[in-house]
Amino acid sequence: MKLTFSRSVIAGSAFFAALVFAGDQTDDYLTTLTELGYPAPADNQLVHIPPTLKDLEQSSMHPELKRVIRRGHDLFTDTQQLRGENVFNNMNCSSCHLGDGRMPFSAPVWPAAVTLPNYRGKNDHVNSLEERIAGCFTYSMNGKPPDYGSDNMLALAAYHHWLARGVTMYPEQPIYGRGFPAPERPEEVSYQRGEQLYKEKCAICHGDNGEGLRIRDTTVFPAPWGNNSYNWGAGMVRVSSAAGFVKNNMPLGQPLSLTDQEAWDVAHFMNSQERPQDPRYTGDVAETLEKYGPTFHKHSLYGQKRESDGKVLGDHSNTGNKDFLKPDTVRPRTFE
């Protein structure tokens, strides 16, 4: 499929200007999303709904490429097949990137394919798509990324690229539904209220102790904290990201059903629980906080005293289910 003109012209609908047409379904998605209460795209926003596997089958790409993209999709939605090798917790990529990484407001992954290589504050250098994917393996999956250029890494990258089909490289417009947009931060946030809400709305799936649920070695409900969850270096430990994720995606099937206050309270509660150490740990929580506070942990509760009992969060050397702290892909780059 070729890149087409702004669909607003074709469809005669007035409300988005810079839309890329990837499937026939874009209007369906936007109608559904706005009816659920998500904002409609702003005039200057880039709207892209990625193609589906069905579109893949129908496309005229080389069958071998299709096979590799399908493998990337399979790895993305069943990342547990790399358990013990690259993944050391109960997550799949799709545990946080809902709808196979395609959904707006659920950090759709295709923007990485059209905005990278780019500078990232988190590691203070220019990153490639593979390095971005490696980041989620290191932190969100508490693991060790597949080697750069390996079959699995290439398959995952191909899946990301294909999702971005038809979008211009380095787009100038802001992207509709990118990331986990945080609701407005309320004046105060309460651990107790968060705990109560967690019991009422989340524990039925994620368990009273955040353990989630697995059956026959398959993750049904991922673990929001503990050894089988994301580690202290993951994007999700930023309370704003977690509040944005929860508000826009949880409880499963009922997005935007919590108030902004509730989303922040429950995110605060969830991220006040223990999880595997930040792979960038220097051996001392205060020192690690000082080093990575300005670029990262200023948004998390790492190294802080927990509101409920005064326990210092992240003050341990527990790496979860893996027997190493930091994979060697976490390293500075200077281009010198």
């Binding site: 379904q25 369906d28 998605y29 559904t32 999303l33 659920l36 596997l53 069905k54 809902l98 709808g99 196979d100 395609r102 959904m103 019991k199 009422e200 709305k201 524990a203 039925i204 799936c205 368990g207 009273d208 649920l213 059956i215 026959r216 398959t218 049904v220 409880p251 499963l252 099937g253 009922q254 997005p255």
Partner: protein, 224 residues
Amino acid sequence: MLTVKHLPTTILALSTLTLPGWLQAATEGDASRGAEAAAVCTSCHQADGSGKHNEQGESWPQLAGLDAGYLAKQLRDYQSGRRQNATMKPFANMLSDQQIVDVAQFYSKMAPRPGQGGESASTEVLQRGRILAQRGDWSAYIVSCQSCHGPDNQGVGTVFPGIAGQHAGYIVAQLEAWQAGERTNDPQDLMGTIARRMNDDDIRAVAAWLANQPPAAELEEIQP
């Protein structure tokens, strides 16, 4: 109010393993006593618990192999009116609290049989059904059935019943009951939210596909 009502279910839901011994004993039924109490149920649910898909009238759900806690909750919900069905209500009302856990235990131990009612569906319909069951349709924010009903839609614990191998007519009736507000006994409206987003074609497609799938695998060794 809602929360208080749901609390017992939530406790049951969190893997029975974590329950203290005494509580487990109190909630556990006796399958042989259950067999006696279930004598009146066989005219519809059949002697082997397999139920029946009825093309014209109401279908009778397969009960064999469903989770005991789930079955008991349904029977209590018919009694209290949180789940409404004119055919089933009088039979639920016949049962004492003890008989409820007994029949639930009895049926949960039976080996399920293949589901009925999906045999004549076209490939196209089945394909649509498979997508809904395994991947969902995010253009309508229909989350895949298996993200709650578990791998192969064979059920997860007490809260999320197995729906693979259930009869198509019954699945259709339930989804329509949720749409019509006649079934509101699901915790946190989790199922109602999804059902209300489905259209008639979706419902028929997913019901046909699910009916053709194997029910709970692990129960195969257990004899009725």
